[in-house]
Amino acid sequence: MSRRAPLRVVGQPVPRVDAVEKVTGRARYVTDLVLPGMAHAKILRSPYAHARVRRVDTARAGARPGVIAALSGADLTWCDPYFGPAFRDRPVLAIDVARYEGEPVAAVAAVDELTAAEALDLIDVDYEPLPAVSTLEEALAPGAPLVHTGEPLAGHFADLATLRPQPGTNVCHRFQWARGEAAAALAGADLVLEDTFRFPPVQHYAMEPHAALAAWDETGALTVWAGTQNPYSVRVELAKMFGVPLGRIRIVVPHLGGGFGSKTYAKLEPLTAALARATGRPVRLAASAAEAFQTVRRCSARVSVRVGLRRDGTLVGVTCDADYDVGAYADIGPRVVQKGTYTATGPYRVPHVALDARAVYTNTTPGGAFRGFGVPQLAWALESLLDVAADRLGRDPVDLRRQNLLAHGEEFAPGDTPIDGKLEESLGHAAQAIGWTQTGAADRGRGVAAMLKASVAPSVSEAIVRLHADGSVAVLASAVEMGQGTRTVLAQIAAEVLAVPVARVTAVPPDTAITPYDQTTSSSRSTTMTGRAVQMAAEDVREQLFRVAAEHLGVPARELALADGAVVAAAGRLAYPEVLAIRFGMSGGELIGRGVVAPGRTAAPLGGSTPFWEMAAGAAEVSVDEETGAVRVERYVSVADVGRAVNPLLLEGQDEGGVVQGLGHTLLEEMVYEEGHLLNGTLLAYRVPRADDVPRALECRFVENADGSGPFGAKGAGEGSLIPVSPAVANALARLTGVRLRDLPLTPERVWRALRARGSR
């Protein structure tokens, strides 16, 4: 009966629970933590893109007063010095070879940061520079220098066991998938279009750079306070590295100053823990913003797509050959390639498909997870080409898309979850809001794009909800608060089920010794998966309340409901403290509820069925300065199919952020390499979007049909808004000027060149 009651807090724009601590500067991040005797670490990084490390002499550094330990890769004999989620190909500190500029080669822990930094100057490294490959072309050329010569060890995660490098090449993983007869379908199509698109390497620029603080205790147990999006994966890596049981490793995650994928899987934690072990002290390692450019980036890509259509606009076949540059170490790159390529056909019904993608090693910063996880690279290609197709067929781009959209309940791929949203509604709202059918100003162009993305599957989330003696509630879950508002959303869900105000609920920060297992805070999954676990745990508490109250009141449990912090029946009400006092016979004890979401493996192509499909559409209106090529996004509308907006305020913030981040790689951002040397690895030279780049009219809307598998019909969001941005903007530019750009970002110079090549009209 309570399930049917109108929602009280879910769906409300509840202000984030940590707003005050954040705006007053009191929210604590890893670098705010101080432990007695804590040492500070600094990293010496390779100045070469590729070099043999003949010898690292840390003796002088180690002898410097105030230095507690100076380590190189060769010193790490007392632990497994390799880590990595897909393959264990990444040494904690370079061993024999440095594979990218900025790779950690040695590290120092000292009494303070300055002493550590100064000690780095005293480390002598004998490098023998080797030929480097810094582009896909170089890496894939016959006889190219190899980034890795031996076969790497498999990673620690069973669900990634299918990933394989191709020995003797720079191909780190190849993913192929086909349905139907793509070649034949294209041969029979009325219109076949083919083109190659490029997506640049970009950095996440989370405002808080990577940081970790590690301490071993007297019993040999390890605690790491880490800025990580998945404490449980970090725990596995450290357990394998040090041969310590999982239960003796504790990962605590305070607030994160942004993640965007840059803090998934282990990053600085292995080195920090090794230094703590070597020094016998707590060690803190806090990277700089410039070091983030040397830690992880988005996988750049070169994508060739062929689409075949019938004259009436029906898509009949798509082939996609994508090469992703995953940099010097696999990180989660192979999985990015696999997951991204899987939805290369977007939200469309395509009977014949052939996908072939490679993850390619180069001597550049490792590429890993980044908001969109491989999908933006492919959506850039497909959604651009669809507009070309519409143009060639004399069709309206919105209509052409609508005609081919997968419908609610339709199969995307055999064995995977049927489509669980109505993208036609998102696309329709986006088109309408941008005024698609109305004539616009002559100097403005409009474009649309859509996206589809699978979430990580299978995955596991567990949660515990505790109802305390005073009727207040604690939610124990390991979804990481990184600005997206997950603590608020989880509190709302528990508050809804248990009929208490959000202020009575505390979401406990992730701590693997306290908060139960959660696979990862990524893939837009937390509200759906962790949220569902919290909902189930809260329902478990509710059932316990009902049981106690039913017995006490002598009424059947089904006649009970929760309201205002009490169990209510026709006969009367029992406030939670009373129920607990009855249950325990005194004012002590608590009710503990448990929720587990573990859908398990399925026959879906990637081994698990996506818990939901992330779907969104975007519409852009742009202007261009034809003389300079500078593009301005005047208006932008994003519409995401979210099932239910548990918190519309936070959701809007997520999607506005996603759009603006998308404008970064669309118009501004690119890590520029010259022979393996990163030319713009600081924020002075690398331009992220600023407040004045935000379109003057930016609208984020939602489609809510309560058709998601998450709590109250919710499904994931937060990545969807970013993905259509590039093609929507480029499509708008093409419709305005007649020029089609294939390389991101759309810098003024690139646009200017295209306009010049087009000539004057």
């Binding site: 940061e113 301005r632 713009n680 600081t682 003024p748």
Partner: protein
């Protein structure tokens, strides 16, 4: 990370120069620190002594006499807000308002900007167009150099190690001068800056003519440079006909530019942008002369 250093805070220019002379290579003048501290944090410079010029008497003065004199320690923000600058050289105030971002403007100084001689300096470009000169002081005395004499190349000036920049001086052009500064770019520092100043006679009447033209091109050359061919072409042109010759002058300016490929763009693109923005700057200046506010609606473009 920033390494430790000794901070000296002299009260007089003499004291400051003596410190610089004594400490030699190991010292650097320090004003707002927006450039210096960045280089020190990156480890590209490691002076062990910083000689803070912000407390040196007179360095933060703006003196309004026959010439307008801006102390080396005056911040962009102060220039922007100075009543004297607004009255005597409004373009300078307007350029100051658009330097970098608010943090840079609040602490960055005129002297630091010029002494650093980054090719992307707006001030050097503007001052070159306005025939400004700089005053330097050292234990050997004071000297005055024109801006062209002072800025020798990228990050290179005529300043001796123990010399300090004390002020920039210029004789403001008549109020009737048609002037504009236009800059363009997506990065933190501008990709291009163009300063235009046209001295007019018979202004206010429809028959105003250019009697003297200054065009300075910034950012794309190794150091800011005048465009003499373009300037000559504009001389004697009636304001009403400026639009007709703007294209020609712009082409001459572009031809004179010494552009190179870098992260800001390719040489040919930047050359073409010189033409575009000289035209726009001339148009903006002409509009102002007619009492019309110039159009500033282009993306990534600032019209000061």
């Amino acid at each position: 990370m920033l390494r430790p250093f000794v901070l000296h805070r002299p009260r007089t220019a003499e004291e400051a120069c003596a410190l610089l002379a004594r400490l030699g290579e190991d010292a650097a003048p320090y004003a707002g620190g927006t450039e210096l501290l960045l280089l020190m944090k990156l480890g590209l410079l490691r002076p062990r002594h910083l000689v803070d010029v912000k407390r040196v008497a007179g360095f933060d003065d703006i003196a309004d006499g026959v010439r307008l004199s801006i102390g080396a320690g005056v911040t962009h923000r102060t220039v922007e807000r100075s009543a004297a600058v607004q009255a005597r050289c409004p373009l300078m105030a307007s350029v100051a308002r658009h330097v970098g971002n608010v943090r840079v403007r609040n602490v960055g100084t005129v002297g630091g900007n010029l002494a650093f001689a980054d090719p992307h300096s707006d001030l050097a470009t503007l001052f070159l167009a306005l025939d400004a000169s700089v005053e330097l002081v050292s234990p050997r005395g004071r000297r005055e150099l024109t801006l062209a004499e002072f800025v020798r190349g990228p990050w290179e000036t005529a300043r001796a190690a123990d010399e300090l920049l004390t002020s920039v001086r210029l004789t403001p052009w008549p109020a009737s001068t048609a002037a504009a500064f236009v800059k363009f770019g997506v990065h933190e520092r501008p990709t291009l800056g163009i300063a235009v100043a046209l001295r007019l006679d018979g202004s206010g009447t429809g028959r105003a003519r250019v009697v003297d033209a200054r065009i300075a091109i910034g950012c794309v050359n190794p150091c800011p440079a005048r465009a003499p061919g373009a300037e000559a072409r504009l001389s004697g042109v009636a304001l009403a006909e400026l639009e007709d010759v703007a294209g020609e002058a712009a082409a001459l300016a572009a031809a004179s530019a010494d552009t190179a490929d870098d992260l800001y763009g390719s040489a040919d693109y930047k050359r073409e942008m010189v033409a575009v923005f000289v035209r726009r700057a001339l148009r903006a200046a002409a509009a102002r002369a007619r009492g019309v506010a110039p159009v500033a609606g282009f993306p990534h473009t600032i019209v000061a």
